[in-house]
């Protein structure tokens, strides 16, 4: 019942979405993209994507590109 977020352990529960996860962070407005294992997920999908147990999650402040 655990995931890792940016390399650190984080609690997890069944049905947890990316939007739910970001409520635990004060700087969530900085993240346009989150990577769950090998898959990039963009902000428009944060509400509908459910994080699986044992995922490696990376919060990416997407200001790069181009």
């Amino acid at each position: 019942m655990m995931i890792r977020v940016n390399g650190k352990k984080h609690s997890w529960y069944e049905g947890m979405t990316i939007k739910d996860l970001l409520k635990d962070f004060n700087d969530s407005h900085l993240y346009a993209v989150v990577r769950i294992n090998d898959k990039h997920v963009s902000r428009p999908n944060f509400e509908k994507i459910i994080i699986p147990d044992n995922s490696e999650v990376f919060l990416i402040p997407m200001i790069a590109g181009g």
Binding site: N6, G7, D27, H29, L30, A32, V33, R35, D38, K39, H40, V41, S42, R43, P44, N45, F58, I60, P61, M62, I63, A64, G65, G66
Partner: protein
């Protein structure tokens, strides 16, 4: 094996200077009309004002051309330079070259940056920059041999036409058993027969034992190269170490290089995985944010976008190290092994394809309504082999396809081709026709601006509609991002000096997603700082990707996360360690400002560079057609009601399109006002005398030029 003859027609011996703090302190000038070869000194003043790279290129080009020079005139120069930090093997992204010339598309200055080994090898051979003028009567190859200290010009009939084979043949010919010592600049038949030709710069992949390619794509530089009948320029240099560039402070350089390299190794796998999938991760992200160009920039997303996204290319790319310069840990130049094209001269044979990157996937994929990853790879391969810019090919073909679907042109004009969006074989046939110099492909190869004229004049197409949907500004085709929903990015494209390429300012996320710059003043500040800092990379021989495509983990806690100031400070340390000149973050911006304003004034010299030339087609600003509006009607309706207090009750889509257009065009003009003011320009977009004096570019000819435009 290709049969060819090679005959030396000129040899020029020289003594190679010692590199001092990143500079060779001289440039090489070749006039291929009379085979004149000379060396010019680089003065301290030149280093102080123009720094290197693009700055040196622009100064050489400024002195080579007059205000009436056309792209195909002999005096037009092709200038290639790296920069003082170019050729450093321990700092990521330190092998870039910048190429400039007068563009056949814009009639003014174009610059294009490119990886590969050529720029550093040129410098280590003794030249901070190369300037080639004139026109040869037969195809020639220029060979700059830094090891044997001579420059040779050859006639070489029988060499392959396409860049893919040509570079491999010339690498083998000049390598003397050490192919890593060779870098080739070349183009192909597409460049000769169109105005959108690119240059391929090579690097040798030791592991795969093959020549690899990067492209100086934008603005038709390859077409100038082909028009001069330069078949290739080859540089030969020896082993590169940290000492080769003779930095002022080797220990500091090692320390800062190690910091940045290690950070990338640690964080890139957690962030964008550039070392594994390059820029392909952008496809699905752009699609999610409604920013992926689909069907000539009409729409920003498509249900099939994931078919050409990172999940697919992760499986297709050949795994292994893909750094286009030695020691780069970002190493994003991926490729496809054993690809078998379905069309063209390589049909049915195995080839290695360098790419595709995001721009090619979006330009030659989604923007053409094509969501087949292999079609994008095949387009990529043939564009490179033929010497064609994938961005201009994509955007120009997308325009032709929309004209076809809208009925502005038909099969009688296309030579019987059905140019519907999604027609992969037609898109590939257009590319093959460009290479052969025949058919409708030859018209597409003239670029969007000329196509608009031809379609109106010869086919009776509606010029006003084409002006709205033809995605070019200043004559250059747009690169592959939807800018409709970000005013700052409209400025990033429209106010870019060379035309709408995103390398000056890519502000979509900052503006549209993060809302970091809600006011005009904040947008103007961003459209000052970002273009200036991005320009700086091109002065120094650097790639900008290590700056902001990998973020320090504590970046979000800094006051200005978008600027990635920790990295900016590392770049200051890096610059000082190589050149011995101390500099502050403001100093980096100040360096770029001088060159940036000089380039703006260069545009003025060539008859452009004023407010009217910063206009962009309405497709880049908002929805041209009702179907575009309706595809995002919730967003547009909300904007009209909440932001602009428009009562939309009972209004038709046509009426709402017209109201939104008036509002958005007004905002873009206000943005111009704010940016010009921030940059120290007149309301007509011309740098003021005060600005050029502050930046130390108040040369007599510049003051005279400003005066002729009423600025004194």
């Amino acid at each position: 094996m290709t049969e060819y003859k090679i005959e030396i027609i000129k040899t020029f011996d020289y003594g190679r200077p010692v590199i001092e703090n990143g500079y060779a302190n001289q440039t090489l000038c070749i006039d291929i009309s009379d085979l004149g070869i000379s060396i010019k000194p680089v003065t301290e003043k030149m280093k102080e004002v123009f720094i290197g790279g693009k700055g040196f290129d622009l100064w050489l080009l400024w002195n080579a051309v007059t205000s009436s020079t056309k792209w195909s005139d002999p005096e037009n120069a092709i200038c290639i330079a790296s920069g003082p930090m170019g050729g450093t093997p321990i700092y990521p992204g330190s092998g870039k070259s910048i190429v400039t010339t007068i563009s056949p598309l814009t009639g003014s200055v174009i610059d294009s940056n490119v990886g590969g080994y050529f720029g550093p090898y040129l410098k280590f051979s003794g030249f901070d920059a190369l300037e080639v003028t004139g026109k040869a009567s037969k195809d020639v190859v220029i060979f700059i041999d830094g090891i044997d200290e001579n420059v040779q010009i050859f006639e070489a009939p029988g060499l392959p036409d396409d860049s893919y084979d040509l570079s491999a043949v010339l690498t083998e010919r000049f390598a003397k058993g050490k192919p890593r010592h060779i870098s080739v600049v070349s183009t192909g038949p597409g460049a000769k027969n169109t105005l959108i030709g690119c240059l391929n710069f090579t690097w040798y992949d030791l592991k795969r034992k093959r020549v690899r390619y990067k492209q100086a794509g934008r603005g038709g530089i390859g077409s100038v190269f082909a028009d001069k009948r330069i078949k290739a320029i080859v540089a030969r240099w020896d082993t590169v170490t940290i000492q080769t560039n003779n930095p002022a402070d080797k220990n500091s350089l090692k320390a800062v290089g190690k910091k940045h390299s290690r950070e990338i190794v640690e964080l890139d796998p957690k962030q964008n995985e550039m070392a594994k999938i390059g820029t392909t991760h952008l496809v699905s992200i752009m699609n999610d944010f409604d920013l992926l160009p689909v069907n000539n920039f009409q729409y920003g997303r498509h249900p099939e976008a994931d078919n050409i996204g990172q999940e697919v290319y992760r499986r297709i790319f050949d795994a292994g190290y893909d750094g286009c310069w030695m020691g780069c840990t970002l190493a994003c130049a991926h490729g496809v092994k054993d690809f078998v094209p379905l069309t063209g001269p390589y049909k049915g044979t195995k080839v290695f394809v360098d790419g595709p990157e995001y721009e090619t996937i979006a330009g030659c994929g989604s923007n053409l309504g094509i969501f087949d990853p292999h079609a994008a790879i095949e387009m990529n391969f043939y564009c490179d082999a033929y010497g064609l810019d994938t961005i201009s090919v994509g955007t120009a073909t997308a325009f032709a396809m929309e004209c076809f679907e809208t009925g502005l042109i038909n099969e009688a004009h296309t030579g019987g081709m059905n140019l519907s969006f999604g027609n992969r074989l037609a898109a590939l046939e257009i590319v093959h026709q460009m290479a052969r110099g025949e058919g409708f492909g030859q018209i597409v190869g003239r670029g969007v601006r000329e196509m608009k004229s031809i379609f109106a004049r010869d086919f009776g197409a509606d010029p006003d509609l084409m002006q709205d949907i033809g995605m070019e500004a200043k004559g250059l085709e747009f690169s592959e991002y939807i800018s409709k929903e970000s005013l700052a990015q409209q400025g990033g494209y429209g106010l870019a000096l060379k035309g709408p390429q995103h390398d000056e300012a890519w502000l979509i996320f900052l503006d549209m997603v993060h809302n970091f710059m809600p006011t005009f003043e904040q947008k103007a500040e961003a459209l000052h700082w970002f273009p200036m800092f991005r320009t700086w990379f091109g002065l120094c021989g650097l790639c900008k990707l290590p700056w902001n495509d990998v973020m320090p983990e504590d970046n979000k806690e800094t006051p200005e996360p978008a600027k990635v100031m920790k990295h900016v400070e590392w770049y200051e340390e890096y610059y000082s360690a190589v050149t011995g000149r101390q500099i502050s973050p403001d100093g980096l911006i100040r360096m770029s400002e001088a060159v940036y304003n000089f380039q703006r004034i260069f545009n003025l010299k060539m008859g452009f560079g004023q407010r009217e030339h910063d206009n962009i087609p309405y497709r880049a600003v908002g929805p041209v057609k009702t179907v575009e509006y309706e595809s995002r009607h919730e967003r547009y309706d909300k904007q009209l009601v909440e932001e602009h207090k428009v009562d939309i009750a009972g209004k038709s889509t046509e009426e709402k399109v017209a109201i939104l257009r008036k509002l958005r065009e007004g905002l873009y003009e206000k943005l111009k006002d704010a940016v010009y003011k921030r940059r120290g320009w007149t309301n007509n977009g011309i740098p003021t005398v005060e600005t050029v004096k502050r930046l130390g570019i108040d040369f007599p000819e510049i003051l005279e030029l400003l005066k002729t435009h009423g600025v004194e």
